[in-house]
C-alpha cells in the first residue's frame, strides 16, 4: 500500500509539473503563443526594439473573446514588425493580477498590456511602483496616470446599430437583450441596443419592445450571473422567446453561446445578433442564426498601440475605439445578406453616419469619457 501511494504521489507531482508547463505557453511556445517574435516575423523590422508583454484576464488565451482578440493584436503587430517581441501570461483569478503585472514590469518588458477593466486598481498600483515602464490597459481609461495608456471602446455605438437592425428585422415587434453580469462593459452594449430600438421607433412611428433591459432603469435587466453557464443562457433566451421576442442580443461571452442552442431549437423562429466578434467566426456552427454582430476591434486597438510604441514614442492618454476609427462597428450580415432588405441596410449606414457626425447623441451612462 505504501509503495502504491508513493507511485501515486510521484505521478501526481509529475502531472502538476507538466500542467505548470502547459499553463505558460507564452514562454514555452506551447498552444498558440510564441515566445519570440523574430522567428515568426515576416514584415520588415523598423523602429526601436521593444518587448511587449500582455497580462491576460481569467478565461485563457483561447477564450474566443477579449483575451484571444487582444493577443491576436499582439501577434499581428509582431508579425508585421520583427522588432516587436511579445509574450503573455494568463491570470487564473483576480489575485494573479498584481503578481503577473509586477513580474513583467520587473522582467525587462518595455510595455505591459493589461487585458480587462477588472485590472484597473492593480495596474494603477503597479504603474506607480515602476514609473519607467509603460503600461496600457484595455477596457479602462488611463485613470489620470502618465505611464498608463487607456484603450477603451464606445461599444454603445455598435450596440445602437444592432438595436436599430433588430428593430427593423423583428416580425413579432419584440426583441430582447441579456447580459452576463450587470457591469459597465456589458450594460454599455445593452444601453446602445435599447437606444437603437427607441430611435427606430421614433423614426418609424413603431412600437418595438425591448425585453431584458431598459436604459432608464440601470438596476434592472436580465442577467445570467455567469459568463460560462450556457444552459442558463439557453434558458433565458427561450424565456424571451416565450414572451414574444424573435431577435435576441446576448452580451455574455461563453454563456451567450447558449442563445445559439436556443435559436437552433427554435428552428428559425428566433435569430440572434452576436457581440464583440463576428459570430460567424467565433461561434461558427450557429452562423445561420446570426443577423450580424456588434463588434469591438480589440486586436486593432492593441496593434495600433504597439505600432505607435515601436516608432519610438509611447502614446499617452486614451484611445477610444468608436465607429469613426473602426474600433467598434457592425460585422457583415453573412448568411443574412439576402434577407436584410436593402432599404434597411441603407438606413443602418445612415444611422452610422449620423452617429459619427454627432447628429445622433448616445446617452448611455457607461460610455468612456
Amino acid at each position: 500500500m505504501r509503495s502504491v501511494m508513493k507511485i501515486a504521489a510521484v505521478t501526481a507531482a509529475a502531472t502538476m509539473v507538466l500542467a505548470g508547463c502547459g499553463s505558460k505557453p507564452g514562454t514555452g511556445g506551447g498552444a498558440g503563443g510564441s515566445g519570440s517574435g523574430s522567428d515568426s516575423g515576416t514584415g520588415t523590422a523598423s523602429g526601436k526594439k521593444i518587448s511587449a508583454c500582455m497580462v491576460l484576464d481569467t478565461g485563457g488565451v483561447d477564450d474566443k473573446s477579449f483575451n484571444e482578440n487582444s493577443w491576436a493584436g499582439m501577434q499581428k503587430a509582431a508579425k508585421d514588425n520583427p522588432n516587436i517581441t511579445i509574450k503573455y501570461v494568463p491570470s487564473n483569478s483576480g489575485t494573479d493580477y498584481t503578481p503577473n503585472l509586477t513580474k513583467y514590469a520587473q522582467g525587462g518588458c518595455s510595455t505591459v498590456i493589461a487585458v480587462g477593466g477588472l485590472m484597473g486598481d492593480a495596474v494603477k498600483g503597479v504603474a506607480a511602483k515602476f514609473p519607467k515602464v509603460q503600461f496600457a490597459e484595455i477596457d479602462n481609461s488611463n485613470q489620470g496616470v502618465s505611464n498608463i495608456y487607456g484603450i477603451e471602446y464606445n461599444t454603445a455605438q455598435g450596440g445602437f446599430l444592432a438595436g436599430y437592425l433588430a428593430a427593423g428585422m423583428t416580425k413579432t415587434g419584440t426583441v430582447g437583450t441579456w447580459g452576463g453580469l450587470p457591469i459597465p462593459p456589458v450594460t454599455i452594449y445593452m444601453d446602445g441596443f435599447w437606444e437603437g430600438v427607441q430611435y427606430y421607433n421614433k423614426a418609424k412611428g413603431k412600437n418595438v419592445k425591448v425585453l431584458g433591459w431598459d436604459e432608464k432603469n440601470q438596476k434592472g435587466g436580465t442577467f445570467a450571473s455567469s459568463f460560462t453557464d450556457q444552459n442558463k443562457g439557453k434558458s433565458i433566451t427561450q424565456s424571451m422567446q416565450s414572451q414574444g421576442a424573435d431577435i435576441v442580443f446576448p452580451v455574455a461571452g461563453g454563456a451567450g453561446v447558449g442563445a445559439g442552442a436556443a435559436a437552433a431549437a427554435a428552428g428559425g423562429k428566433l435569430n440572434l445578433i452576436w457581440v464583440d466578434t463576428d459570430g460567424c467566426t467565433s461561434a461558427a456552427q450557429y452562423c445561420k442564426y446570426f443577423i450580424s454582430s456588434a463588434t469591438k476591434n480589440l486586436s486593432g486597438g492593441v496593434e495600433t498601440y504597439l505600432k505607435a510604441a515601436s516608432s519610438g514614442n509611447f502614446p499617452t492618454g486614451n484611445y477610444i475605439g468608436d465607429l469613426k476609427n473602426g474600433g467598434v462597428g457592425l460585422a457583415p450580415y453573412n448568411q443574412f445578406d439576402s434577407k436584410v432588405p436593402d432599404a434597411l441596410k441603407k438606413e443602418v449606414d445612415q444611422v452610422k453616419a449620423d452617429i459619427i457626425s454627432g447628429k445622433i447623441t448616445i446617452t448611455s451612462p457607461s460610455q468612456p469619457k
Binding site: L211, G221, N231, S239
Partner: protein, 447 residues
C-alpha cells in the same frame, strides 16, 4: 440511535429505524403531542406570510388583470389564456394562507398533515406572487414556459443529486460532483462530435465512472479525508478539462466541439395531454433517462436487497460487515455508479442541451446538486424536489426580470439572489431537521 431531546420541547418523541424491506431507513421523529410553543410558532409564521401576501402584494398589485398562458409554443392543443383580476386574486389567496395558519393555531397539525399544509402555503404564495407580477396587465405570465425552463435547468441538478445519493447513502461523501459533471460534459461534447451523441453519452458515463473510481480508491483504500479529496478532484477536473479544451477543442472546434444534441421524442398519447404533455413527455432522451434513474434509485434503495445493504453500510458498516456484507466492495460499486450518473449529468449540459463545451460550463451546478441532496434529506425524492424547486426559482428569476412593468421595481442583483433565498426559505419551512446517513464520510476499517 436517538438524538437528545431538546429541553424546550417537552413533547414525547419516539424515533425508529426500520430496516425491513418496504420501510424507509430514516429516523422518523413522531411527535405524539406537539408543544404549544411549536404549534403557535408555526401558526403565527403562516398567518404572517398570509398577511404579507394580502398587505404587501395585494395592495401594491397593479390595477390590471393578470393573464396566465398555459401553452408551450403554438403546437398541440391550445388552451385559452386564464385571466384573473390581479388585486382581488392576490388578496383572496393571502386570506386562504391566513386561514391555513389559523387552522394550524387551533388544531395543531403535525407530521404529514403539517408537511402538506406547508406545501399548500408555498403553492398559494407562489400563485399569489405570479398574479402580482403580472398584474400590470401588459404581459401574460408564461406558466408553460416557466415550467419548461424549470425542467431544463433542473435536469442536470437532479442527475447530479442522484450521483450524490448513490455515494452518500453508502457512506462516502461526494463533493466532487462538480468535477465529475465537468468531465462528463467534456467527454460528451468531444466523443459526441467525433462518434455521435450516443457514443458521447456512453463516454460521459465512463469518464464520470473513472472519476468516481478515483474518489473511491482514495477515500476507501487510502482513507483520505473525503471533503478535501472532493475539493482536490474538482480542481483537477477544472484544470484538466481547461487544458484539454485549449489543446484540443480550441484548435479544431468544428471537428471536436460541435456535437449534435438529442432531439425531443414525443411519447404517443401522453405527449398530447395539454400543459403536462409537452412539458413532461415531449423531451429528449436525457430527461427520460433522468426519470428512469430517479425511479430506479428510489425503488431499489427501498425495495431491493442491494438497497437494504447500501443503507446498512451507510448507517452502520460494522453491523453490516458482521452479517456478511462486503462493505468495501459495495462502497466501491456504488461510488463508481454514482460517478457514472454524474458524468451523465454533465452530458445533459452539452449533448443534452446546448451542443458545445466551454471552460467551466458546469458553473457550480455540481455544488447546487450537492445542496439539493442535503436539502432533500439524502433521499431520491427529496433531492428531486429540492432540485426542481431550485430550477423553478431560477426560471422565475428570469421570468420576473422580463416583465417590463412589475408593480415594484426589483434590482437585478436582488433577483440574482432569488433562487438561493427561496431555496433557503423552502428548506427552513418545509424540510426542517435533516440527518445524514450515520456513517457518511466515515471510512471503514475492518477490525
Amino acid at each position: 440511535m436517538s438524538d437528545p431531546v431538546k429541553t424546550d420541547q417537552p413533547e414525547v418523541t419516539t424515533e425508529t429505524v426500520e430496516v425491513a424491506p418496504g420501510e424507509v431507513v430514516a429516523q422518523r421523529s413522531v411527535d405524539v403531542r406537539m408543544s404549544t410553543a411549536r404549534r403557535v410558532g408555526i401558526g403565527v409564521a403562516i398567518v404572517l406570510i398570509g398577511l404579507v401576501t394580502v398587505l404587501g402584494l395585494g395592495l401594491s398589485a397593479g390595477s390590471g388583470s393578470t393573464s396566465f398562458d398555459l401553452n408551450a409554443g403554438d403546437v398541440g392543443i391550445q388552451l385559452p389564456k386564464v385571466n384573473v383580476p390581479g388585486t382581488v386574486t392576490v388578496i383572496v389567496l393571502g386570506i386562504l394562507i391566513v386561514l391555513v395558519g389559523v387552522w394550524q393555531l387551533v388544531r395543531g397539525l403535525q407530521g404529514a398533515a403539517l408537511r402538506w399544509a406547508g406545501i399548500a402555503v408555498a403553492l398559494l404564495f407562489i400563485i399569489a406572487f405570479l398574479t402580482w407580477a403580472g398584474s400590470a396587465g401588459k404581459q401574460s405570465v408564461q406558466i408553460a414556459s416557466l415550467l419548461q425552463q424549470t425542467l431544463l435547468l433542473a435536469t442536470p441538478l437532479i442527475l447530479g443529486a442522484m450521483a450524490g445519493v448513490m455515494c452518500e447513502k453508502t457512506g462516502v461523501i461526494n463533493v466532487a460532483i462538480e468535477g465529475q459533471m465537468l468531465f462528463g460534459a467534456f467527454a460528451g461534447a468531444l466523443f459526441g462530435t467525433i462518434a455521435g451523441t450516443w457514443v458521447g453519452l456512453v463516454a460521459a458515463a465512463v469518464i464520470g465512472g473513472v472519476m468516481g473510481a478515483l474518489l473511491a480508491v482514495f477515500s476507501i483504500r487510502f482513507l483520505v479525508n473525503q471533503v478535501i479529496l472532493g475539493v482536490v478532484l474538482n480542481a483537477f477536473a477544472i484544470g484538466l478539462t481547461g487544458y484539454l479544451y485549449g489543446a484540443v477543442m480550441a484548435k479544431d472546434p468544428t471537428g471536436t466541439n460541435t456535437p449534435a444534441t438529442f432531439s425531443p421524442i414525443k411519447i404517443p398519447v401522453l405527449g398530447d395531454i395539454p400543459v403536462i404533455g409537452p412539458l413532461l413527455f415531449d423531451q429528449n432522451i436525457m430527461v427520460y433517462l433522468m426519470y428512469l434513474i430517479v425511479a430506479v434509485i428510489d425503488i431499489m434503495l427501498i425495495r431491493s436487497r442491494w438497497g437494504l445493504r447500501t443503507r446498512a453500510v451507510g448507517e452502520h458498516p460494522k453491523a453490516a460487515d458482521t452479517v456478511g456484507i462486503n462493505v468495501l466492495r459495495l462502497r466501491y460499486q456504488n461510488v463508481i455508479i454514482g460517478g457514472c450518473i454524474a458524468g451523465i449529468a454533465g452530458a445533459a449540459l452539452t449533448i443534452g442541451s446546448v451542443g458545445q463545451f466551454n471552460k467551466g460550463i458546469t458553473s457550480g451546478q455540481g455544488f447546487i446538486a450537492l445542496a439539493a441532496l442535503i436539502f432533500g434529506r439524502w433521499t431520491p425524492r427529496g433531492a428531486l424536489g429540492a432540485a426542481l424547486f431550485f430550477g423553478f426559482a431560477t426560471a422565475l428569476q428570469t421570468a420576473l426580470s422580463l416583465f417590463q412593468s412589475l408593480p415594484v421595481r426589483i434590482d437585478s442583483d436582488l433577483l440574482a439572489m432569488l433562487p438561493y433565498l427561496a431555496t433557503l426559505f423552502a428548506v427552513a419551512g418545509l424540510v426542517g431537521r435533516v440527518r445524514a446517513p450515520a456513517a457518511d464520510g466515515e471510512p471503514y476499517v475492518k477490525g
